[in-house]
């Protein structure tokens, strides 16, 4: 049976949810209202052509949610251009990129950004404030209406009407072939110790740089990679907890696990990581970490 999209979409409950999504994404009521209007308009084009891919396996409301997210991002790109975050930001994780996008590109106020990203306590607001502080320190133009956004932070798409979400080739890391990746891992090793990881304290690093030996050779990194063998689910668990700062009960819901499971999995994972480091003969003591300036 064909789904009656207008009936679902124009339900007061769904319209309210769309308004909430838009407000959450853009925080300014006027802009959010404009974005909601854009979503409805795009969905209804050509007799609801955007919904035609639906096969009926998922709930229509959840399917609509994914379409709305695509269209809200599309609206953002049309309004603010396609953002190109600096590489150092990408390395820190998606949360850093989102704070950068909201504060620097869309010039949203920090309190509303922390409010949106804290998910009613599922993520620490201190983390978000700290990230924004580091970004503003490194990018003085960020958030200042008197200064222009540098051109290299924006990429205006040739095809303004493109409906696709950001393409997977957005990440430079993805373009690397295997050999380059191995080389880059060695570089990452150096970067972890010395370089411009914004979560490191640069002064401390400079103070210790002369005496510090290289901790791992490329062979050791290869061995570490082989012995870790993390699954995608395990990597996502680590990312959600340590890069995105989500609390464990939110992570459990995200990965459709019982609430107790992420904690148990993390415990087992840490044991494996410690063992893998030992197997690769990479020994980090607390002091070494501190000396290396890891204040993550």
């Amino acid at each position: 049976m064909a789904t009656d999209w207008p009936v679902i979409i124009f339900q007061p409950r769904w319209m309210q949810r769309l308004d909430q999504l838009a407000l959450r994404r853009f925080s300014q009521p006027g802009l959010a209202e404009e974005a909601s209007g854009y979503v409805i308009e795009q969905l209804s084009l050509d007799d609801w052509a955007a919904c035609k891919q639906y096969s009926g396996r998922a709930k229509p409301e959840t399917y609509l949610l994914t379409l709305c997210h695509n269209l809200l991002e599309e609206f953002s790109r049309k309004r603010f251009g396609r953002p190109r975050p600096p590489e150092w930001l990408k390395r820190e994780g998606d949360l850093w990129v989102r704070v950068w996008k909201m504060v620097c590109m869309e010039r949203q106020l920090l309190p509303s950004v922390t409010d949106q990203l804290s998910l009613a306590g599922q993520r620490s607001t201190d983390t978000i404030v700290q990230i924004a502080r580091v970004i503003k320190a490194r990018l003085p133009w960020c958030g200042s209406s008197a200064r222009e956004i540098p051109a290299d932070c924006l990429c205006h798409s040739d095809d303004e009407d493109s409906v696709e979400f950001e393409q997977p080739d957005a990440s430079i890391e993805q373009k690397l072939n295997h050999q380059q990746l191995e080389e880059s891992l060695t570089l990452i090793n150096q970067w972890l110790l010395l370089a411009d990881s914004p979560s490191n304290n640069a002064t401390d690093i400079n103070n210790h740089i002369k005496d510090r030996p290289t901790l791992a050779s490329p062979e050791q990194w290869q061995q570490l990679r082989n012995s870790l063998a993390l699954t995608s689910e395990e990597r996502l668990l680590l990312k959600l907890v340590y890069q995105e700062g989500l609390k464990l009960n939110a992570v459990a819901r995200a990965l459709n696990m019982p609430s107790y499971q992420p904690g148990r999995l993390l415990k087992a994972l840490h044991t494996r990581i410690r063992q893998a480091l030992v197997d690769a003969d990479i020994t980090f003591t607390n002091n070494t970490f501190e000396e290396a300036g890891f204040n993550v």
Partner: protein, 257 residues
Amino acid sequence: MSDTQLQEKRQYQKQALLALRASHGHLDPQGHEPSDEELALLLEDKLDFSRKQQILGHIDANPALFSKWLMLIESQEDLYTANAPSPTSRIQRLREWFTPMRVSLSGTALAGVMAIILLPQPANYLTRAPQLAPPPMQPPITSPSFNTQGNRLVENGVLQGLSVAYHELSQTNQQPLGWSLPLPSELPQSQHVQAITLGFQLLDTLQQCQQNQQYQPPATLLAAIDNLLPELGANSDFCNGIINYTEGLISNADTLP
């Protein structure tokens, strides 16, 4: 958090970031990229195991897809937190409900119930007693049973809580439930505060279950169910168990003892 705990937490975080960087690109994603509908199915946890693993592989390997998935789960999280029961509002609602008149009516009803329990029983009391004891192996409850005084007290309380919470909903929010639930004042009055509170929670839970059949209830609710309706807690399909139980409870509301 003590210094040692903080240091340990930092150590874990460092190890995790190191492991993430070292294992980057170790696995190539399998299968085709997920469509929007497959992402919706992932949110609903309706994918088979192997496809779910493939899609998680794509999400892990593709930063843009990861970002999109993260925003989707955050909007689900918004819905979760918006619908989560607030302890303050619960207490407020309980306070509002327990007006002196209601308390006196409830007290009278409770006195009646206690009298039934405590007064000397007729001669066939001993022969009835075994029927009141629960059988050794009970199937999970999917519908209410008013077979014991204890059950009656609890179920009256649950129904009362459900009824108060239901009649506080706006008409728009009542409509999807499709219930014809008597007004709280028309029900036998209960003073079983825990059961009434559980009734409040069950309505919230039902609304959550209607949004997501895989809804995982908070530990406090599970503890309350374990305490008051232990057989219901043993039901492996939580949402269906709750839905069937509540519907049974409401359909029997008119015939409550």
